[in-house]
Symmetry: D2
C-alpha cells in the first residue's frame, strides 16, 4: 500500500502517517519525490483498513498494491481448482461444460421435457429457477420447493446435475438438499449473509457477477465463500450494465481470461443474460468458448413464446442443439472439447 501525500504536506503530517502505520502493526517507508512524498506500507497482507490512512491530514490518496483477496488468488493456490458437480461432470479442467434449461421451472411436463431435450443435445447440467428474484413484485416469483422437487425428478430421469438459485438463508438449505450446485444470482453477489450461508452449504456454488461489479468485487465475494469453508466455487460472467440499451447487458468476455489469470477458480459465461436477445446467444456462446470459458449457462425453453419469464432470450431446443454443434469445433480449435453428454441413468 502506498500513501501519497499532498504536495503541501508538512513534515509533521508525513511523520503522523509513518506513526499511524506503525500503530497498525506494519512497517513504513517514506519515498521522497520531486513533487511530493509517498509513504510505502510494508507487510500488507491484503487486510489493511485503508480508510484510516485516507483520513489523515496531508494525505492525498491511498493506493492499494496488494490484492485485497487471498484464498481465491493464484498466489494462494497456483493450480486450477476442479469442481466436481456430482454426475461425473467436472468444471475447470479440459472439458467445456454445458448448463442449460429454462429460466424458471414452470411445471412437471415443462421441466422433464426440456431436461431430456438439453441432455440429448449435449448438456451435462440442468438449470432452472425455483426461487426467482424479479424486478417487479407483480412478476411470477417461482414455484419454490415444489420447483426443487421437479428439478430433482428431472435429474433422476436424465442423469443431469442440477443448478438452481437460492435467494436467502432458508432457500440455501433447501437448494443444497435438492440440487447439486447452489446458484447465487447477480443481484445477490454482495448479499454477505447469503454468501456466508452458501459457504457452509456443502455443495458447489455458482456465483454470478453483479450488475456492475468489478472483477475485484467478484473475487472478494468468492473470498466470502472460500473463507466460510467452501472451496468449490464456479464464477459466472453474465454481462454488466452499460449505457447502451440495445442489449440487456454488456457481456464482458475479457473477464474470462482476466479471471483465469487472477484466480484458480473456474469461470463460465451466460450468453443468455449477457445479451438478452435470442439471436445473439449462439454467436456469443461461441465467443465465450473461444475466450476460454470453462462452461456455458444457456436458457432453453420447450416453447419460448409461452415462457413465464425471459422468453425473449430463451433458445428453442433445436437452436440449443445448433449452438452445441457450433461450439464443439470452437472448443477443439483451442485444444479442449465439450463435456460428453451424460448417460441416461434410468
Amino acid at each position: 500500500m502506498l500513501i501519497v501525500m499532498d504536495h503541501r504536506a508538512t513534515p509533521e503530517e508525513i511523520e503522523r502517517v509513518v506513526e499511524t502505520i506503525g500503530e497498525m502493526g506494519y512497517g513504513a517507508q517514506p519515498i521522497p519525490g520531486r513533487q511530493r512524498t509517498a509513504v510505502g506500507l510494508v507487510g500488507n497482507d491484503g487486510r489493511v483498513e485503508s480508510a484510516r490512512l485516507e483520513g489523515l491530514p496531508g494525505v492525498r490518496e491511498v493506493i492499494r498494491v496488494s490484492k485485497p483477496y487471498k484464498q481465491v488468488s493464484r498466489e494462494w493456490r497456483d493450480e486450477d481448482t476442479l469442481v466436481d458437480v456430482g454426475n461425473g461432470t467436472v468444471l475447470g479442467g479440459r472439458e467445456v461444460v454445458l448448463m442449460a434449461g429454462p429460466c424458471a421451472v414452470e411445471g412437471r411436463d415443462q421441466i422433464l421435457q426440456i431436461a431430456a431435450q438439453v441432455r440429448d443435445a449435449g448438456a451435462s447440467v440442468l438449470r432452472g429457477g425455483a426461487f426467482k428474484p424479479r424486478t417487479s413484485p407483480y412478476s411470477f416469483q417461482g414455484l419454490g420447493e415444489k420447483g426443487l422437487e421437479l428439478l430433482a425428478l428431472a435429474r433422476e430421469e436424465t442423469g443431469l446435475a442440477v443448478v438452481t438459485e437460492a435467494v436467502d438463508s432458508e432457500s440455501v438449505a433447501l437448494v443444497a438438499e435438492y440440487a447439486d450446485i447452489v446458484q447465487i444470482g447477480a443481484r445477490n453477489m454482495q448479499n454477505y449473509p447469503l454468501l456466508k450461508r452458501a459457504g457452509r452449504a456443502g455443495k458447489p456454488v455458482l456465483l454470478k457477477r453483479g450488475m456492475s461489479a468489478t472483477i475485484n468485487e467478484l473475487l472478494l465475494a468468492a473470498e466470502y465463500l472460500l473463507s466460510a469453508g467452501n472451496p468449490n466455487v464456479i464464477l459466472c460472467e453474465r454481462g454488466v450494465r452499460s449505457f447502451d440499451t440495445q442489449t440487456r447487458n454488456l457481456l464482458d468476455l475479457t473477464a474470462v481470461p482476466l479471471v483465469k489469470s487472477l484466480t484458480h477458480l473456474p469461470i463460465v459465461a451466460d450468453p443468455s443474460h449477457g445479451t438478452g436477445v435470442r439471436t445473439k446467444v449462439t454467436p456469443m456462446a461461441r465467443a465465450a468458448v473461444a475466450a476460454g470459458a470453462d462452461g456455458l449457462v444457456v436458457e432453453v425453453h420447450p416453447d419460448p413464446p409461452t415462457a413465464l419469464s425471459d422468453g425473449a432470450q430463451s433458445l428453442y431446443p433445436e437452436q440449443f442443439a445448433e449452438l452445441v454443434a457450433q461450439c464443439g469445433p470452437i472448443a477443439e480449435a483451442i485444444g479442449r472439447s465439450l463435456a460428453s453428454a451424460v448417460q441416461r441413468t434410468t
Copy 2:
C-alpha cells in the same frame, strides 16, 4: 405497451401478436406505418409480462408505455407521503431533516459522544451501522445486537430517532425492535426476500438506491415495500457507479427532482457515500438541499482517523456543524427550513 414489428414481418406474424395479446387478456390495436407495423397493447396495468411478446417471430422490440410500478406512483397517490419517524420528526414535508452519525457503532463512548454532538449541531436522526455489509470478509463487520442496544441508549440520552441497516430477515426483526427506521443498503436494494420482510416490519424504511440501479428499479424496489403493506418509505440517493474513480461514486442529484415528479415518497441524499471524500461532502450537501432533497444522511465521527470504516469520508463534528450552518440558508432560499433540533429528553 407497443410491440414494434420487423419491416419484413409477415401478416401472419402480426396476426399472431394480436392473438397472443388477446390470450393474455388485453386488447390489441395494429398501427400500420410506412416502414413497419406496430401493435398497441391496450389495457395494460403495468403487470404485462413483455418477454412473452418479445419472443414472438417478427417482433423487433417491445416498448413499455405504462410505468411498471403502481402504488409508489404519483398516479396512484398524488399527495406527498409524510413519514413520521417517531420523535416528532417528519420527512416529506416543508422541513429538511438531518440524519447524521458514524459509519459504524464502535462502542458506548463513541456513539454517545457523537450522538450528542450531531444533536447539538442540528440533527434529528442518528445513523450508525450495527450490521455492516463489507466488500471484504476480512473487514470489520459491525457489533450486531450489541450495537443496536447502544443506539437505543443514545436515543434515550439525546432524543434523536435512530436509523440503522438490516441485512437479512433476522436483523430486520432486531432492527425494527431497537430502531425507528430500518435501512436497506445499496447492495440489498434488489434483495427481494429482505424487502418483503422489511415491508412487514412495522417501522419506516430508508431504501438506498443500488450501485447501478435505474430510477425505475429503485421505484420497483419501493413497490415491494408498499405492496407488502408498508407505506412509510424514504428513498435515498447515495451515488451510482461511474467510469471515473476520482470519487467513490457519482452523486446523481437529478434523481431528487426526478423522483419527486414520479412518486409521492420523500427522498433524501447521502453526500458521504455519494462522494467518498470528506472535502466534497459539504458542497454536495448544499447542492442536495438546493435540488430539493427532503433530508441528508451524513457520516460524522468523533475522530475520523481512528474510524473502523469509512474514515476518509466522515466529517469531524465541527465540520458537520459548519455543514448545517451552510445548509440552513440554502433551505431558506427555496422556502424550506432545516428541521428544528430535537429537545433533550433526559
Copy 3:
C-alpha cells in the same frame, strides 16, 4: 414514432400534438389506453425532429420506432457490402482479414521490419499511426507526413495495404493520398466535419466506435460517411468505457452480431485497444473471430518495451504469429477462413 401523453394530459393537449404532427407533414393516429393516451406518428422516414414534440405540454415521452439512420441499414440494402482495400483484400465476405502493425510509425527500420513480420505471419493490411491523437499534449504526437511516406514505402516492399488515422481535414487529404484506408479514431467518431471530409476522400474508411458511443450513434456516424458519397465503410469495435479499470476498455463483442444484423457494412474488432493488456489480446482475438468479426486490428511492435506509445498492449511479432495460428482454426470452425497472406511484391 410514438408520443406518449401524461395521464393528466387534457384533450386540448392531445389535439395540439395531433396538429403539430400534421404541421410537420406526417400523419397522426391517437391510441387511447387505460392509463394514458399515446399518439402514433405515421410516415416517419427517420428524420423527424422529435425534440419539437417532446416540448409540447402534456407530452411525457417520445419513443422512436423507426431507426434514425437510413443508408447504412439492412432495410436500405440487404446484401453485405464488400469493401475492397486495394491489394486483393476484401472485407465483408467469407474471409477474415488481419490488420496489424505498431501503434505509431516510429522510423524507417521499425516500420519496414514490422511490416515484413506481420505480412509473413499472415496479415493483409498494415496499420500504424502517423498522426497520433494523445490524451496528454506532452506525449509523442506522431511523425506526420514523414510517417505516411514510410507507410507507403512499407506497402511497396511488402504488398500489404495500409490503414492509418486522419485527425483533421488536412490530414484526410494526405492520408487518402498515401494510404489505402482512412481511419477515423474513437475520439473523432462524432467529429462531423471530419466525417464529411472523409466521406469525400475517395478511399475506404475504417470508423472506430467512440469511447461511449451507442450502436445507434456508431451507425449514425457511418451514415455521415455514406450520405457524403462513400459506400466503403468498415466499422470497428474497440472497447467502450467501463466502471472497471482492470482493463483499458471493455471490449463489447456482442456489437459484432448486433451490427451485422442492423447494417450491411463489415465490422472488425480491435482486441489491443479493447483490452489494453498484452496477455488478453490473443484470447479476445479468438473470441472476436468466433463472434463473427470480418477482421481484426492488432497492435504488434518489433520490440514493445521500447515502443513510443501503447507498448503495454502491443504483441511481440512471435506472439502475433501465434495469434494467427490460433485464430485460423476458429475461423474454419465457423465456415470462414483467414484471408490469405499477400504475395511478396519485391
Copy 4:
C-alpha cells in the same frame, strides 16, 4: 510513479525495470514488500511514458502518483484564474455568471428577441449555436457564418458577451472574429487539432466535458489549450453518459468542487444538457450554484415547441426569469452573488 512487480518477478526483471527508469532519465528506488516488490520512479514531471514500463517482463501494474497535467494544476498556479469575457463580465471570481440563449441561432428575430429577454432576466452572456454538431446527418446543422453575424448583432443591441461553438479550424477563426468566447463542445473535447487551434485563437475558451471523460481527461484537454498559449479557459460540466436513460445525461455536480480543488480555472455547469428535461433544469441550476459553480449555461428559447433543436430541454423566457430569481438567494446563501445584468449599450 510506482511500478508494481508480479509476486513471481525475478531479481533480473526488477533490475531491468531499474535500468529502464535510469535510461529514461529518472531515479529508481526499489521498495521490497512481503508479497511483492515495487519500484518508485523519482523525479517524474508528469510526462513519463508509462507504457514503456508496463511492457517490461514481470511488471504487474504501473501506478501514476503525479498528476499528468501541469499548467492547469493548482500546484503550477495556486491563485484562481479570472477570465474576463469582454463586456465587464468576469468568470472565476465572487460573481456567478449566467450564460443563456437558444440551442441554435435560427434567425434574426429569434436571436434578437431571446437576447433581450435573457439580458432583461439577468444574463451577462448570450449562447447560441451557429455551427451545430448533430448526431444525425439529416438534422439541422446551423446557419454557419450567417449565425455568427446575427450573434454579433445581438451583442451590439444588448451588451451581452457572446459564446458560440467552433467545430473545426476554419470555424475557430470565424468564431474568434465574431464572438467573445470560443466554445469547444463535448464531442470535440479530445479533438486535439481543434484544441491546439483554439489555444491560439486569442479569445477565452469554454471547454465542455466529453460524454464520458474523466476529470483527468478534462484537465488534460485544458492543458492542450494552456500549453498552446491560452490561459483563459472556462471548464463546463454538462453531464456524462449513464446507464439510466430517464435523463439525457447524468449531471455530475461533484465535478464542481473537485475541479476547483485540482485547478485554478473557473468551472460552470450546464443543467440543460445535463438533464435534457425542461422541468429539471431549474432545480439543477440551483444545485450547481450551491455546489460552487462559477456560472451557468442555460438553453432558453422564445418558443421552445418550435425550436429546431433541443426544444425539450429549452426553458421558456419566463421560466428562465424564475430560474434567476431562485438562484440569486442560493448564491447569496454561500456568500456570492449573481453577476449584475449588463447595461444596455444602445
